[in-house]
């Protein structure tokens, strides 16, 4: 992917992520309604998907409840890290006219395509999914 497209996509995604979290922060019951809770699978089948509970987890982290957030969904930690790091990284890259983020993105892409990395990652995601269903998020 071309550098500028990637940065545009990432900043758009971060913006949407921040607005979604802000909406849920201002109104904790925002995604509790039965019409739209942010997840298609949960809305249709009632079973949580692997990343259900991420919003609640990020909100718990923002209140400083680390253990609570990990118990809700460990993906919240990853999402918060990405949300915090990406805008800063994009700004630094644009100011220094470099493309370290794009290089890192490509590196992670090739890394995740190696079977040695992909299989454990898939296993972790599946375990998290089973845990999510067990918790009944």
């Amino acid at each position: 992917m071309i550098r500028n497209n990637l940065y545009l996509l990432l900043s758009g995604a971060c913006l949407l992520g921040y607005s979604w979290i802000a909406l849920n922060y201002l109104d904790p019951a925002f995604s509790d309604n039965k019409y739209f809770n942010g997840c298609l699978i949960k809305a249709i089948t009632g079973i949580p998907c692997p990343s259900c509970g991420t919003t609640r987890s990020v909100l718990a982290l923002s209140r400083g409840e680390i253990l609570n957030s990990v118990m809700l969904n460990p993906f919240g930690l990853i999402v918060l890290l990405i949300l915090l790091a990406t805008p800063v990284w994009i700004l630094v890259d644009l100011l220094r006219k470099k493309e370290t983020l794009a290089q890192c993105y490509r590196y992670i892409e090739t890394l995740l395509l190696c079977p040695g990395v992909a299989i454990p990652v898939i296993a972790i995601v599946l375990c998290n999914w089973i845990w999510n269903i067990y918790k009944g998020l």
């Binding site: 992917m1 992520g17 997840c39 298609l40 949960k42 998907c49 990343s51 991420t54 995740l112």
Partner: protein, 104 residues
């Protein structure tokens, strides 16, 4: 022959470009051209409809970053999943073209 067998894997406007490059390429490239693994847009559409929510359609075509994004956000709050039902075939053809360009 190659174009006849693989026309569905590329956008129609890319076909003439590929044809020109194939004609210009020398014979030694031919084994590599035959070896390249092109993804079928119909397959990725089926994958997208059934498990696109987890970003697996994007993983399959090699867009790992976007796949992870879809996985972590419940398929982009379900909206991206639906958008990708329509986008994935084009994205697959673009990826195939990228692979061809690396070889030719």
């Amino acid at each position: 022959m190659f174009i006849m067998a693989n026309a569905k894997n590329f956008e129609s406007y890319q076909l003439s470009q590929i044809r020109d490059k194939l004609i210009a390429a020398d014979e030694s490239k031919w084994p590599m051209v035959q070896m390249v693994q092109l993804k079928d847009p119909s397959t990725s559409l089926i994958i997208s409809i059934f498990v696109g929510h987890f970003g697996i359609d994007r993983f399959i075509i090699g867009d790992v970053g976007i796949g992870v994004g879809k996985l972590l956000t419940c398929g982009g709050f379900g909206i991206w999943t639906i958008i990708d039902w329509f986008m994935i075939q084009g994205a697959t053809r673009e990826k195939n073209m990228e692979k061809m360009q690396q070889i030719l």
